[in-house]
Symmetry: C2
């Protein structure tokens, strides 16, 4: 079955610093007209940093969208023209204060394809070297270290609920 | 470190059929003022249906947000007042034409906590019974069956990139 929807009109509702909201008018495969609400996002990277003792570095920060603190692997938005690997090294330094001599691309995921175009590139960072914690003045995060088994326990018991973090853990250690 | 951001103003930019966009003005932990772009979504369920022969049912559909077809497990938005388990049974019937006599709650995930509140409840559906394909007239999807090993191969080789689908597969079969 053909599932393609051709856009016949695009209306920009809002252009923000992080997201853009567009309403696209489309022709469905049955020739009916429909509207799609599309959130555009610059894309992001997420990095699972693991040291030589098997500690994984996580960040815990308040997320306004869900009005709660969340445990995540370090991550951040791509800047204009920035390559995912550069972004990964930048965020690793800004959020946990490390550089990596062995950064491996793992996979890329679409987080919410029903309404958003966000794509996240996932990396594994090994051979970590302490660096200056070159942090963003307006970013407030706490850093935690957990062993691989502890982190899997936290996924099982629901303490870790962030999609990119679960995917990084499972893809790197279980796939 | 305290990471909480108190909202002092909420401005609604758009209220759509799927998403709502708000701009929240917040006080950061350092007392500076900042704005957060927040996409509100009703939440969703995703269901991994597996039959007694070990076939998993996937749906492939065009997603306007990413301008591409995507392979996903059946999923759908929560309707007002609907329990996740009811929604799971409804979507299983609408998208693949099955009911399940053994629906197991697996976990819930936040897909994009940096800008959206979307939460997805993941279920495993077993003991499947053919039902009427009670489909939505304006939904165009193709159904595919893959064995567990084939699906993992598709995650490894990048044919499956949808976050909820990867998490369901890995959490159900590898955790």
């Amino acid at each position: 079955m053909n599932t393609y929807e051709k856009t016949i009109k695009n209306k920009n509702i809002y252009t923000g610093k992080v997201v853009t909201l567009d309403i696209e008018t489309v022709i469905l495969p049955n020739d009916k007209i429909a509207e799609r609400e599309i959130v555009r996002h610059p894309g992001a990277v997420a990095i699972l940093p693991i040291d030589n003792s098997g500690n994984i570095y996580f960040v815990k920060q308040y997320r306004k969208a869900i009005d709660s603190e969340l445990i995540e692997i370090p991550a951040g938005k791509l800047e204009a023209g920035e390559e995912p690997i550069e972004c990964a090294l930048r965020e690793l330094q800004e959020e946990v204060g490390y550089t990596s001599n062995k950064l491996t691309y793992i996979t890329r995921i679409f987080t919410s394809p029903g309404f958003a175009d966000e794509k996240i590139y996932i990396f594994k960072a090994e051979d970590l070297r302490k660096s200056k914690l070159n942090k963003d003045d307006d970013e407030f995060i706490n850093i935690y270290k957990y062993k691989v088994d502890e982190a899997f326990e936290m996924i099982k018991n629901g303490e870790i609920t962030d999609a990119k973090t679960i995917i990084a853990m499972l893809t790197i250690f279980k796939l």
